[in-house]
């Protein structure tokens, strides 16, 4: 069986991370599986975990009273889910629902924050990766908004 460190090292988000940093992260991590239809988290809940998706597909949903839940994006194998819960107010602002069986590595957010405070090198390394995720996310969001609002 693969160790948590190995699983972490295999995820694209952590590709190339130093072994001692992987070891630190492994102490904050656990393998979690969700069945189809199960929520990874729901809007308004405290953001306790950050997810690296190993397989499956997750719908990010926003509930509207008129139309019910609307899927605004999906995340799949190799993606990260939940960086939005890392800064204050540590609260989810959307629902995340497993569309099929989803296998993840869940990183405890408190533990992750403490680890980054104690080891700024790790903190900076993760910050660079989060920034990359955010840039990609905003780039695609911009296109999505253009299409939805302006139909270009």
């Amino acid at each position: 069986m693969e160790s948590l460190e190995q699983l972490l090292a295999e995820h694209p988000f952590l590709e190339g991370l130093a072994p001692h940093h992987l070891k630190t992260l492994a102490a904050c991590a656990q393998v979690r599986q969700f069945t189809a239809g199960q929520f990874l988290f729901r809007e308004g809940e405290e953001a306790k975990e950050f997810f690296l998706i190993r397989s499956g597909q997750v719908a990010m949903e926003i509930y509207t009273s008129r139309r019910g839940p609307i899927t605004i994006q999906t995340r799949q194998e190799g993606d990260v889910l939940g960086w939005v819960g890392l800064p204050p107010p540590y609260q989810w602002n959307f629902d995340a629902r497993a569309m099929v069986i989803v296998r993840t590595i869940a990183l405890n957010v408190d533990c992750l924050r403490r680890a980054c405070e104690e080891d700024h090198e790790l903190g900076y390394e993760l910050l660079k990766r989060f920034t990359g995720c955010m840039a990609r996310h905003f780039r695609s969001l911009k296109l999505q908004l253009l299409d939805i609002i302006h139909g270009v």
């Binding site: 949903e61 999906t74 695609s140």
Partner: protein, 285 residues
């Protein structure tokens, strides 16, 4: 200007429409219809290359350029998918079986399906952009062994805005073709991706050194898709886009569709990115 792909020449009378009769009308989405038509005169002489367009006349209303969306191996009946957005397209979409349409063409350059042989082929369509690409997909599927990995990536605004839904399901069921679809928003019943097509390109399987990318959709979408392909190492000359412009004459005389030194109706609509990049999505033109 050298064309970047094969063309079928128009007849001796490129300005004279031939009359076609509507045989079938299929509603694709709320505002988009596919018309299947045959020449009224029984004249069976019609051929086109994937990516070419016709000028369609709604008699008494006007003329518009519309890409051909049928199978180039079976050019008749002629198939056009049309979105009803203006007076002419609304009139065309309103025609029923037996209605008559004027057809001039085919015009323009085509998707480089012969040049792509031996390569992986990644086809990216946004919205109505699947219509001009469908002939290329038919060609590739009809000659499947000539190509490497083939993927179709299709994005639409919602699941209800997707063209050719039955056909997409059939393509998805094939073992030799990967079809990935995505929409901008959906209800929980939707089982596929939500997001933009650019998110999917990094997941597509292709060898960037031996890949031909065919892209058609809104200009902004094509711009970002091209960037994704370039990021993955596909050469500019192997990325092809279909340009949309106000084509009128179809033969490069009137200048309505001029874009810098290019007449889109004659030198395009299909261009390699290498050829059109200096003019593509330029605000000055």
């Amino acid at each position: 200007m050298a064309s970047n792909s094969r063309q079928f020449a128009v007849g001796a009378e490129p300005m004279l429409p031939r009359v076609f009769r509507v045989e079938k009308r299929v509603k694709e989405t709320a505002d988009t219809f596919t018309l299947t038509m045959m020449p009224l005169a029984g004249d069976e002489d019609f051929a086109f290359a994937p990516g070419q367009f016709n000028m369609l006349t709604a008699f008494g209303v006007g003329e518009v350029p519309i890409s051909i969306s049928g199978d180039p191996a079976a050019p008749l009946p002629l198939v056009h998918t049309i979105r009803a957005v203006g007076a002419v397209t609304k009139a065309l979409c309103g025609l029923r079986k037996g209605g008559q349409i004027g057809v001039r063409g085919p015009f323009g350059t085509s998707w480089p399906v012969s040049r792509a042989e031996g390569n992986d082929v990644i086809i990216v369509a946004g919205g109505l952009g699947l219509a001009p690409l469908r002939p290329a997909i038919y060609h590739v599927m009809n000659n499947r062994t000539a190509y490497g990995n083939v993927e179709v990536i299709y994005g639409a605004r919602t699941p209800y805005d997707m063209l050719y839904q039955q056909e997409l399901m059939i393509w998805r069921g094939r073992f030799d073709l990967r079809v990935r679809v995505t929409v901008d928003s959906a209800t929980p019943e939707w089982r596929s991706n939500v997001g933009v097509v650019t998110n999917i390109i990094p997941r597509a399987r292709f060898d960037p050194y031996h890949t031909t990318a065919l892209v058609c959709g809104p200009g902004v979408m094509m711009r970002y898709v091209v960037q994704e392909f370039l990021k993955r190492g596909v050469k500019e000359e192997n990325i092809f886009i279909s340009m949309e412009r106000a084509m009128k004459c179809g033969i490069g005389f009137c200048g309505h569709c001029q874009l810098g030194p290019h007449f889109i109706c004659k030198d395009g609509p299909v261009y390699s990115y290498a050829l059109i990049k200096d003019w593509f999505e330029k605000r000055e033109v």
